[in-house]
Amino acid sequence: MDAALGAGATYADARAVVRRSQAVATKNGRVENVTDLETEGIGVRVLVGGAWGFACDRRLVAEGARDAALRACAFALAAAGRGAKGLAPPAATSGTYRTPVEKDPFTVSLSEKVDLCVRAEEALRHPDVKVTEAFVRAQRENKVLVTSDGAEIEQEVVETGGGIDALAAGDGGFQMRSYPSAHGGSSAQGGWEYVENLGLEREAPRVAEQAAALLRADVCPPGVTTVVIDAEQMELQVHESVGHPIELDRVYGSEASYAGTSFLKPGDLGSLRYGSDKMNITADSTTPGGLGTFGFDDEGVPARREPIVVEGVLRNFLTSRETAERLGAGEGGSMRADGWNRMPLIRMTNLHLEPGEGSFEDLLADVDDGIYLETNKSWSIDDKRLNFQFGTQIAWEITKGKLGRMLRDATYTGITPKFWGSLDAVAGPEAWHLQGLTNCGKGQPGQGAHVSHGASPCRFRGVQVGVKA
């Protein structure tokens, strides 16, 4: 910090990060992966003459920190285009945060992790299942942030997760079922107790049976119909069609060259109808167990819970101190960097669809003819986050309020505000479910982010399903 300010920075922050992660994966009875990774370093972000600069150094010593600061300042001075930049007032001066952990995942031996995967995978065995996979992960990140505003913050974030996949193949077909989620299972902030409570071994026979049954299921027919969507797929729907468009850096065009922009405009705040009055979205970086939970973001702004969409109307964006100042609303609080060698960006914290009322069965009861969709299989959405298309691993017909035959290769598509406008029921708190994903990408150079979403199953009317190539 001293080096940056001495080199002309009007603002600077520095993050020293030490991250350790372990991963175990087994596949078809073989141990595919036993890894123990660590990385550490310091990243320094500076504002010099109205231009940002960022540099980093893997050496966690004074020389490395100074070098990073001076290179960041030199890079900022060389930058093209610069305008006056204001930052929303700082809120934090000092603080600490630690993930509550019952069982430190790094005291659980890799052998125990391998054993858990092997047992879960054995329970996936089925004559039609060609590939069985089980995987677990653990990560601990220690981070110290200091800013030229005077913040000094120390945090320790611990994550764990796991999952199983069954891939069935036969007669030229291929189907997959996953638990507790597709694309790498589910993760949470917490200790090894989270993985133990997932019940991977317990759920495996059902997962395998459904993968095999899908080989003989009928294809989801095309049409416009009522859909009921499970909590897990709803969480991805929230992520893609609400979480990314409300990132204020996207609204201002900062991601135009890669992840895209947003259909939202700054002036939409407080007036844009995002969806039906059943739609209530909350950003909450205090959610117990959430991957987007922290004490302070990477600008030192304290964690908070704030409404984003209230009864279908847009009430807040996700902001940084710079974008909040530009908008004249918000205080920041969503800046997160992927490790020590990337700049903080506006990232989702934990973004939830608030529960409604009633049960999953109540959602079905009011459907004469429709489709129930469960577990994501594929996803795609346009650069403004309007036109989306999702596929799910499994679906069922809904006939006169009851689940009927199983269907495969289901897809649904829509336009974001119209789709959310067709939301006519959200199941209640008993059906609300929190899930953590670890594959959210943004930025150039690319950065991964870990984020959790909570949702209950939902019902939508008049949705296009069964898109074909």
């Binding site: 123990d36 550490e40 093209a80 065009g253 346009d382 650069d383 298309q389 991964g448």
Partner: protein, 455 residues
């Protein structure tokens, strides 16, 4: 590059106490000057060295990594890798570490790129921005040096220094957007100002975009779009694991004609026009692999593990992935689609006659890997083709296509292949790209309509 990857790798091996071992050291020095609305907003300088150690004890394999390259850090790395190995279960049929083999000499390093410093990176970004002052420029200039060394207790000593540079620009305002990018390992292969001009020129033609009805259309895809599509198709279709696990399009179809005879696809990391590589992540020499030949499915890429599991005479083709991605199996990092006999984009449009023109794709998703079905959006330059000429601009369109079906009837392929960067610079820098021409197809299935181009 101040750190010597070879020297670090040798020190790692000396720290290993018992068992076979393979050390990978990847050192990166890079800068990425990112800009939006013609102003630099996210400039990132990175220097890092990541050491990954794979230890094999009694057939059990464990992997650890660190970026602490002092003796203490490397000693602890060796301990963690050994503990990981001891925790694993012995892998039946594990082929062991490869013996050293002669490695091909390749291009891929240019001292002029290696010499590009932060001030030069800023200057190149400025050139891309100032190429078109009348519209907002969004994108980046990046250059970097990557030094990769692999050494093993079996005697492998593989090393390569690589350079790469990329300029990418989206020119955009409310209601218009255009895209261009260039990638090369040599300084002469990237001209930021020309990228900035190309994107702006394209954007200028996209205002007042019209809509069309979803339906199958004939289409011309620029190399940017075609490269993206082929890379996504290749993730599942061209690796051995997808074949062995019966989940890829090529499973059960090798030897069959699955595409137009004009289509030939290979993976060729030795091609100097690409981003050349000498060896894979086991230190095995890279080979050119014919994947599709005149429309006939010929093969996939292999590493030693997948070849051993296949057990029917297959051998590695030099496509082992980085150790932490080994569970995904062998990967294509250098896809190449042969050029055709069509000299220009204009002639490809004439072959299409009536259809659509696609510059770039966005957010692809694999809907059905077994049938090669991919969905995504067009972006930053979609046009109608009428009477064989590019006509009015179109809004962004959702497509859902079976890639083999799209390539069943190909009226023509461009003669010139273009290198398209396929790295988004996640994780450690390892430059990859695809060499593809523009293509005309008789069937590009539009399944939805999106928003107008622009911000």
């Amino acid at each position: 590059m101040s750190d010597d990857a070879r020297e670090i790798a040798s020190r790692v091996l000396r720290a290993v106490d018992g068992g076979d071992a393979e050390a990978h050291v990847l050192c990166e020095r890079s800068g990425l000057e990112r800009f939006a609305s013609s102003e630099v907003h996210q400039p990132t300088l990175i220097e890092n060295c990541v050491v990954t150690l794979r230890v094999i004890r009694d057939g059990k394999i464990g992997t650890a990594s660190t970026n602490r390259i002092d003796d203490t850090g490397l000693k602890q790395l060796a301990q963690r890798a050994a503990e990981a190995a001891d925790s694993a279960v012995a892998e039946e049929g594990f082929p062991g570490l490869p013996d050293p083999q002669p490695l091909p000499e390749v291009d891929g390093y240019d001292e002029a790129v290696a010499a590009i410093g932060p001030e030069d990176q800023a200057k190149h970004a400025r050139a891309a921005i100032e190429a078109s002052p009348d519209i907002g420029q969004f994108g980046f200039f990046t250059s970097g040096v990557t030094d990769l060394a692999i050494v093993s207790s079996a005697g492998v000593e593989a090393h390569q220094s690589m350079t790469d540079a990329t300029t990418l620009v989206v020119s955009a305002d409310d209601g218009s957007s255009g895209y261009a990018t260039q990638t090369s390992w040599s300084a002469g292969g990237v001209d930021p100002a020309s990228v900035g001009r190309e994107a702006a020129e394209k954007a200028g033609r996209t205002r007042d975009a019209k809509t069309i009805a979803p339906a199958p259309y004939r289409a011309v895809l620029e190399p940017y779009a075609f490269a993206d599509l082929i890379n996504y198709f290749g993730y599942d279709a061209f690796g051995a694991n997808g074949l062995l696990e019966e989940r890829s399009y090529l499973a059960g179809r090798l030897g069959e004609k699955i595409m137009d005879e004009k289509v030939s696809i290979s993976d060729d990391a030795l091609d100097p026009r690409g981003l050349p590589k000498r060896f894979d992540f086991e230190g095995v020499p890279k080979q050119r692999v014919q994947l599709i030949e005149n429309g006939v499915a010929r093969g996939v890429v292999w590493d030693r593990t997948s070849a051993a599991r296949a057990g029917d005479g297959h051998e590695t083709t030099g496509h082992a992935p980085p150790p932490v991605y080994r569970q995904y199996g062998p990967l294509t990092f250098a896809l190449a689609v042969d050029g055709g006999e069509v000299d220009s984009i204009e002639e490809l449009c004439e072959l299409v006659g009536d259809g659509i023109y696609v510059t770039r794709l966005h957010y692809l998703g694999i809907v059905d890997p077994r049938e090669g079905v991919i969905t995504g959006m067009t972006r930053d330059g979609t046009f109608r083709i009428r009477d064989g000429k590019i006509a009015e601009p179109l809004v962004n369109l959702r497509f859902t296509v079976s890639v083999p079906q799209m390539l069943e009837d190909v009226p023509g392929l461009g003669r010139e292949q273009q290198l398209v960067n396929s790295s988004d610079f996640y994780g450690e820098r390892y430059p990859t790209g695809a060499l593809v021409p523009a293509i005309a197809t008789a069937r590009f299935n539009i399944t939805g309509v999106g928003s107008a181009p622009g911000l």
